[in-house]
């Protein structure tokens, strides 16, 4: 067993995280190699084989892998099938989006106002920014939740604080009343639904259906070409994924990992060992929510737009699907699942794949991809409960 992380405490006293988790080294190496190759092939820093839009897609995929990692820790290791982690992802996106949109609008507005004979007052700038951002929903006032939008550091703190606090409060309520299993899943789904309904409203201060847009423009770097900015975000995403992998590996290994896996398998027994199960669950739930928020904050500037549909309950279910296909309970499984399914999805639905003419029927992939995914997913659940990651186990066992 070289690649598994589940079986770590079997070895004599703990020496180092990397020794215990050989998969971490493998992963870091492959991630570094991948980053290097993409950099060398990109338009901005290489020979230009990979287009800027593809760099963005790859960068976004890395972010999806990061949120899948978080999902794997909370579900695969701790046994909480959360149908809310993509909502935390979206919240991170909204938090960064508010800052980006505000800053960019302010630049545009100041530009416009400076053309007048008299320089604008701060109030005038603020009013104009508000009118510009909220004109689409028929308002011209900056809502209270935008109070920190003019300060990047504060809003960056929000990326962590908003998902973290929501997870903390929700988790505390849910775990305290010992809601478990499918009930807990439904409860997290209810949370996600409430959040997306909240965001869909025009008068709750986040532009309702319109969402936040223009996020690909980074204030202060407006004259830097997108090809370069996309590389920055790609590198940042790769770094975040690497650090996230390390953090997750650290959490799921050692005694802490043993305890949360024990909670997954028999939480009542863990209680009788004297562990405060609720505290552990809350810790894992909140930590993974924060990781999801960070992933979202890196994803949406590359996507350029965020709207409430991104936060809808279905997105969180897809997240669970990725992790299940990749293989639960192994970190690299989550990464493989997220990368494979999301890349395949954008290839097939983006018109990249050739349609198949059967003579009597033409298979159009945009129409049939979801059918394929749905049925494929059923097959994975039925026949390969360990997912793609299970294949690695099989290969490794065959070798030894």
């Amino acid at each position: 067993m070289v690649l598994t992380t589940t079986d770590t405490t079997a070895r004599p006293p703990r020496k180092s995280l990397l020794r215990e988790n050989p998969s971490v080294l493998w992963f870091m190496g492959l991630l570094g190699l991948f980053t290097l190759i993409v950099s060398l092939l990109s338009e901005a820093t290489g020979i230009g084989v990979i287009s800027t839009s593809l760099v963005k897609i790859l960068g976004m995929t890395l972010c999806l892998c990061l949120v899948a990692l978080a999902m794997d820790v909370v579900w695969g290791y701790c046994g909480i099938l959360s149908l809310g982690h993509f909502a935390f992802f979206g919240l991170g996106g909204y938090a960064i989006g508010m800052s980006l949109m505000y800053a960019r609008t302010e630049i545009v507005v100041r530009d416009n106002l400076a053309r007048g004979t008299i320089p604008p007052t701060e109030t005038e700038v603020l009013d104009a920014v508000a009118a510009q951002i909220f004109g689409v929903v028929g308002s011209s006032e900056l809502p209270l939740i935008w109070s920190f939008a003019n300060s990047l550091p504060l809003q960056l703190a929000m990326v962590v604080l908003v998902p973290g606090l929501l997870a903390l409060v929700f988790g505390w309520l849910a775990f305290r009343s010992r809601v478990t299993g499918v009930y807990l899943s439904i409860l997290t789904q209810a949370m996600t639904l409430a959040l997306s309904l909240y965001l869909f409203q025009n008068d709750t201060g986040l532009r309702g259906n319109n969402g936040l847009s223009g996020l690909q423009n980074i204030p202060g770097f407006l004259d830097v070409p997108q090809s370069v900015i996309s590389m920055w975000f790609f590198w940042a995403s790769a770094l975040a994924l690497g650090l996230g992998y390390l953090a997750c590996a650290w959490v799921v290994s050692g005694k802490f990992g043993a305890v949360i896996q024990a909670i997954r398998d028999n939480e009542a027994r863990v209680r009788f060992l004297g562990y405060n199960v609720e505290g552990y669950k809350l810790f894992v739930f909140t930590l993974t929510a924060v990781i999801s928020g960070i992933a979202g904050a890196l994803y949406y500037p590359q996507a350029g737009i965020i709207n409430p549909a991104e936060v809808a309950p279905i997105a969180s279910i897809y997240l669970a699907v990725w992790v299940a296909i990749g293989g639960r309970g192994r970190l690299y499984g989550a990464v493989i699942g997220a990368a494979a399914v999301s890349l395949l999805s954008s290839w097939l639905t983006g018109g990249g794949a050739p349609n198949i003419d059967l003579g009597f029927y033409r298979i159009v992939w945009t129409d049939w991809w979801l059918v394929l995914l749905g049925l494929g997913f059923v097959a994975v659940t039925l026949f390969f409960p360990k997912g793609i990651g299970g294949l690695f186990d099989y290969l490794v066992r065959k070798q030894s």
Binding site: L81, Q189, A194, Y198, D367, L373
Partner: protein, 637 residues
């Protein structure tokens, strides 16, 4: 009815009467026309009303032989003549062969007033009712005498009551005498119909006004204290609009004024680039004000002083205070009653929503309760039922018949789909409930996309038969569409049927046994596999039937199931798993809650849903096992 003057009139036909006064008919004048009307009313001949209507509509002609006819214009510029007595056609003539009679506006008003009277005196009660209804639609002061006269002759109690009420409505608005009006308003006390309340509210309409002293003759509704009932700025703006004071320059006006007075990059001695705060702009303005370039700035004190010279008030458009007082009292008297009826209406709405939730959730409750299986594809079974209904409706054009066929077919189709899914997928996952959730979700997205591929993305109609299309109205405030009543009874039927199956049949006994202890049930010769299969089929079948009902109520789209699935889960979880009554309670709670929240904030149903979900999350904190919870070891963990 007024007594008839000329006793010698014994004319047999309307034409005879008309010929007697042919001068007046041919050249009707305001002064002469009452005589014609008197004659007509004295003769009491059939067809009088039609004749008068035609007369007023300028559709009466005089033929060359002097006889009068009603006429109908044809497309080819000819006129069809109609005999006023028999109502039969009397041939076609060119427009120039007859003289068309064109009574003027004054004459027509006379005729119309009398027409109401004729119709109200019609021997056929149905026509009298119709006349009353048409009079109520276009209330007019002229109708008052006619209705009053008709009321005296009326012997049908129901029509009398209607007449009295219409008279009250008219008198309240149009009577000239205060006492009569107040009396009429008293008569409307306690009347909750929209018409009555509209009349009363009309009487209480106000306009905002101001004056230096409170006018003696105005009927004051409210005196607005500046700073309290009206903001100082708004009050000042009112005065400014009336050109009584100079307008107060706002921030933009100040900026524009400064902009217009830039001299050599300076305004009032301050460099332009420094004018980026309100204080400096104000200073610049003051400087310009001092040298007389700009009108003085209006300060708060200025505004206060100006506003203090005036009183601001709302006055009733109706000058008579007695009338407005009575109207207000009459409206107040109905307030409690209206509140009660609105509550009743809300309850009906909630009940109807609850029955929809119940229908959508009960199938889920059965599968969840008996098998502990979360079926995420439940919503797609609802959709499947709805599409079955749609397909059958395209095959059988008769809506009633197609509905009768669709309900059992939808059940069979979704029952089969449910059984297939249980055999192929769920059976293998009984020990892994969380994975059932995911596998059924996979089926759900596949089914949804399949439906999109087959039926397209646009909504398909599933039309309810006519007898379900109307609505049942109890009064102006409480009414409900027949379809919703139908859905309510359908939910009730399902409830009774399920209770019967579960409590009175062998299948029900076995289902309960498997619910409580599958191992024990199996050892007693019950085949849990068969029970699970049947239960799953039953739950899915009910979803299909619910789909037909929901499809008629909403629209048939591939996403319709997804819209109900989360609510259905909430219903089951809130109600308590494994209990039909629990689901009923859950549906009732969620339905009334949603309607209740919507009532407080009717414009924003999204907000209502948000709050509802939040409430449910909190609710589960306190009752994690739902309203009706199974207790003891059987409940399991």
């Amino acid at each position: 009815m007024a007594p008839v003057a000329d006793a010698q009139t014994e004319a047999a036909t309307l034409q005879d009467v008309l010929q007697e006064v042919s001068e007046i008919v041919a050249n009707p004048s305001r002064a002469q026309v009452p005589r014609l009307l008197e004659r007509l009313s004295a003769a009491e001949l059939p067809g009088t009303a039609e004749f008068l209507r035609a007369f007023s509509e300028r559709e009466v002609v005089q033929a060359a032989d002097g006889r009068f006819f009603l006429s109908r214009e044809n497309a080819d510029q000819t006129l069809t003549l109609i005999d006023p007595d028999s109502g039969e056609e009397h041939g076609t003539v060119g427009t120039r062969e007859v003289s068309q009679i064109r009574p003027n506006a004054g004459v027509r008003r006379e005729i119309n007033a009398s027409l109401v009277q004729f119709e109200l005196m019609d021997p056929d009660p149905a026509r009298r009712r119709a006349a009353l209804a048409s009079a109520a639609r276009s209330p007019d002061a002229d109708q008052i005498p006619a209705i009053a006269a008709a009321l005296k002759a009326e012997d049908n109690a129901d029509i009398r009551a209607r007449m009295e009420r219409l008279l009250d409505l008219l008198n309240a608005r149009f009577a000239t005498d205060t006492a009569i009006r107040v009396d009429a308003i008293e008569g409307l006390r306690g009347d909750i119909s929209t018409e009555a309340r509209r009349v009363l509210n009309q009487l209480l309409q106000t306009r905002a006004d101001f004056a230096q002293t409170l006018p003696e003759d105005a009927n004051i509704a409210l005196i607005r204290q500046p700073g309290e009932d009206i903001s100082l700025i708004a009050a000042y703006a009112v005065l400014a609009d009336a050109d009584l004071v100079p307008p107060r320059p706002g921030r933009n006006a100040i900026r524009d004024a400064l902009r217009a007075n830039v001299v050599d990059g300076m305004v009032g001695g301050i460099p332009v680039h420094q004018l980026d705060t309100d204080e400096r702009r104000l200073a610049a303005y003051r400087a310009l004000e001092d040298n007389g370039t700009l009108a003085p700035l209006v300060t708060e004190a200025d505004m206060q002083a100006a506003v203090d010279q005036y009183v601001f008030f709302d006055a009733y458009l109706e000058p008579d205070q007695g009338v407005t007082d009575a109207a207000r009292e009459a409206l107040d008297s109905t307030r409690t009653l209206i509140g009660l009826f609105q509550f009743a209406s809300l309850t009906l709405d909630a009940l109807s929503l609850a029955s929809i939730f119940f229908l959508a959730a009960i199938g889920l409750a059965i599968t969840f309760g008996v098998m502990r299986v979360i079926n995420m594809a439940h919503g797609e079974f609802i959709m499947m039922g709805a599409y079955t209904g749609y397909v059958i409706q395209t095959l059988i054009p008769d809506y009633t018949l197609s509905l009768v066929v669709a309900l059992p077919t939808a059940f069979v189709v979704t029952f089969a789909a449910g059984v297939m899914m249980e055999r192929l997928v769920i059976r293998h996952l009984y020990t892994r409930p969380l994975e059932t959730l995911l596998a059924t979700f996979g089926i759900s997205i596949a089914l949804q996309q399949l439906a999109k591929n087959i039926f397209g993305t646009q909504a398909r109609p599933l039309t309810a038969p006519d007898w379900l299309a109307g609505s049942v109205a109890f009064n102006d405030l409480v009414s409900i569409s027949t379809l919703r009543v139908g859905i309510f009874f359908m939910a009730l039927a399902f409830l009774l049927m399920l209770l019967f199956i579960l409590n009175r049949t062998r299948l029900g006994l076995e289902v309960r046994a498997v619910t409580q202890n599958p191992g024990m049930a199996a050892s007693m010769g019950i085949n849990p596999g068969r029970i699970n299969m049947l239960t799953f089929g039953l739950g899915s079948g009910i979803a299909g039937v619910a789909g037909v009902a929901i499809g008629m109520y909403a629209q048939v789209t591939s996403e319709m199931g997804a819209n109900y699935i989360v609510q259905s889960f909430m219903t089951v979880v809130v109600g308590g798993v494994g209990s039909v009554f629990g689901t009923l309670a859950g549906a009732g709670l969620i339905g009334s809650l949603q309607k209740g929240i919507e009532w407080f904030n009717p414009t924003n149903t999204l907000a209502a849903q948000t709050y509802m979900v939040l409430f449910i999350i909190l609710f589960i904190q306190f009752r994690p096992k739902g309203i009706i919870a199974l207790k003891g070891r059987a409940a399991g963990d």
